[in-house]
């Protein structure tokens, strides 16, 4: 339910950004807002404090937007969310807005985790292989996780492709447990 509502807000912001040509900036602003919201407990409680008036909430969000260098569209959207006590949707709105923006820009984001540091040549080859398969621009992020023992796991959108020893052991364990 909350995902559906968040999608409406994200869709509205996406359309505004696309019309104004500031979609990338809006996505960044909302991402920063979402990070601030996740990091600040006081900001999360902004919705639930009955002693705060709507004007006070708007003032707090305007001050926050000013410090983060947000545009008027972003601040107004946050004020609207605060008036309707929907600030808890902010992370979802930011994520959905990023997803819509990527879809609109033809970008696919991939997170590559490996047991050991990958060479740049291997990363380039991997990016080229994903771009050739999906036909989209690839934005890649790499991470090193020794718990994987050996191999590489990639998360591309909502898909996970696992080629690690840890993944194979997990699959073997699940198979044995099923039997």
């Amino acid at each position: 339910m909350s995902q559906t509502i968040a999608r409406r807000y994200a869709r509205a912001v996406f359309e505004l950004g696309r019309e104004n040509g500031s979609l990338g900036a809006l996505v960044g602003e909302f991402s920063r807002f979402a990070e601030a919201y996740a990091a600040s407990e006081e900001l999360r409680e902004l919705d639930h404090l009955p002693s705060l008036t709507d004007a006070t909430r708007r003032a707090v969000l305007a001050d926050l937007g000013k410090r983060l260098g947000a545009s008027e569209v972003a601040v107004n959207t946050l004020s609207l969310l605060a008036d309707r006590q929907r600030l808890s949707l902010l992370p979802d709105v930011a994520a959905l807005l990023l997803e819509m923006s990527d879809e609109h820009e033809g970008v696919v984001r991939a997170t590559i985790r490996s047991a050991k540091q990958l060479t740049p040549a291997y990363v380039n080859r991997l990016v080229e292989r994903i771009r050739a398969t999906t036909g989209k621009k690839v934005l890649i992020t790499t991470e090193v996780d020794p718990a994987l023992i050996a191999g590489v796991v990639a998360q591309i959108g909502d898909r996970v492709i696992d080629g690690t020893i840890r993944g194979r052991l997990d699959r073997l364990s699940a198979s044995l447990r099923q039997n």
């Binding site: 490996s114 047991a115 050991k116 990958l118 291997y122 080859r125 991997l126 292989r129 994903i130 050739a132 398969t133 999906t134 023992i149 050996a150 191999g151 590489v152 990639a154 591309i156 909502d158 898909r159 996970v160 492709i161 696992d162 080629g163 690690t164 020893i165 840890r166 993944g167 052991l169 699959r171 073997l172 364990s173 044995l176 447990r177």
Partner: protein
């Protein structure tokens, strides 16, 4: 209803008339057989030791009876036996004439002041040595019945005093025995006011409440009762009678029921031994039946418990087997992980990376065609 009420009213009026007639007849003082007032005083055998100033004169005809202790003209008092010693001495001269003499004597006394009509309480009238008012002792004749004097009320100012009854100046035969003409005229005239000294009951001029007024009041009361209270009282009595009758019927029913129960209880008591034996037999049979049922239930419970125990044993064995398998699997995985972690080198890692690079295209295509969110390189 009406004739009955009228009949009662007539009976009440007739009774009232009889009372009036009887009262008038009895209230008239009986004249002494001889003229007493003018008789010379004589010493009486039981006279008081000191001569009283208002002692009534007595004549020879007033000789004291040795048996009754009363003068000859006095009506018998308290039956025919001799008078008890505790009785006050006889006062044979306490009639109206003696009262008049008392009044005259009070007027003549140097310090005595006879109260006037306007001031009846100026002085108290004396009493005799026993505390009785003069002329009102227990052995004195009763006063005249007042029929209608003062029918309007008490007014000492307007009350007409009674004239002298026995006129000594014209001693006719009738006046000497039944009263003077003036007295009879006063007696038969319904004077509206009467005299009453509230402060002194011994005042000889006190006139009692008129008997006729009492009778009229009584008759009026009876009329009011019969007129306004006859029907409700009769209905209430009828209701009360019906209620009492219903209560009696109910009591009879209760009595009959109680008698029936008593008979039943008596019959039950007679059959008590048989009932006891039958009950003992019945309880024994029921006990045997209960024992049988209990044995069957216990047998079923035993079978059920054995089956449960078998099932639990099987389940526990299965659970233990699963736990052991899981623990063995976890241990094997941990051991494999440790072994792989120790044995895998960079070449193995690079080889896996190359395999991943070769398979990722197929995995992305397969995941897209399957519409699944996850996939895995071989």
């Amino acid at each position: 209803m009406m004739p009955r009420r009228l009949l009662g009213l007539r009976i009440a009026l007739a009774f009232s008339g009889l009372l009036v007639a009887g009262g008038v007849a009895l209230a008239q003082p009986v004249a002494p057989p001889t003229a007493r007032p003018n008789a010379a005083p004589t010493a009486r055998p039981n006279a008081a030791p000191t001569a009283r100033p208002n002692a009534a004169p007595t004549s020879s005809a007033n000789a004291i009876s040795p048996i009754t202790g009363l003068p000859g003209w006095h009506p018998p008092v308290g039956g025919s036996g001799p008078a008890p010693q505790a009785q006050p001495p006889m006062r044979p001269g306490h009639d109206q004439k003696n009262v008049r003499q008392l009044v005259e004597q009070l007027k003549r006394e140097p310090g005595g002041v006879m109260p006037t009509l306007a001031s009846p309480s100026a002085r108290k009238f004396p009493t005799d040595e026993h505390g009785y008012c003069i002329g009102q002792g227990p052995n004195d004749p009763p006063k005249n019945v007042n029929l209608f004097h003062g029918w309007l009320g008490v007014n000492n100012e307007k009350a007409v005093p009674a004239p002298q009854r026995l006129d000594d100046s014209s001693p006719s035969w009738f006046a000497a025995r039944f009263g003077s003409t003036a007295w009879w005229k006063w007696r038969l005239t319904p004077h509206p006011w009467r005299y009453e000294n509230h402060d002194d009951e011994c005042d000889p001029r006190n006139t009692p409440i008129p008997l006729l007024a009492n009778l009229i009041n009584f008759g009026l009361l009876m009329w009011l009762v019969t007129r306004f209270g006859g029907k409700p009282i009769a209905e209430a009595l009828k209701k009360r009678r019906s209620a009492i009758m219903s209560e009696i019927d109910r009591a009879k029913e209760i009595k009959a029921s109680a008698k029936g129960r008593l008979d039943q209880y008596a019959a039950d008591l007679d059959k008590l031994d048989d009932k006891q034996a039958a009950l003992r037999l019945l309880y024994a049979e029921e006990g045997e039946l209960d024992e049988k049922h209990l044995r069957e239930e216990l047998g079923q419970a035993r079978t059920r418990m054995l089956a449960d125990a078998d099932f639990r044993v099987v389940q526990e064995a299965k659970s233990t087997r699963d736990t052991l398998s899981r623990e063995a699997l976890d241990g094997a995985l941990v051991a494999a992980e440790a072994l792989l972690g120790d044995s895998i080198n960079d070449d193995d890692h690079n080889r896996l990376c190359e395999e991943f690079l070769n398979d990722i295209g197929n995995a992305l295509v397969k995941g897209a065609s399957d519409g699944r969110a996850t996939g895995a390189a071989s």
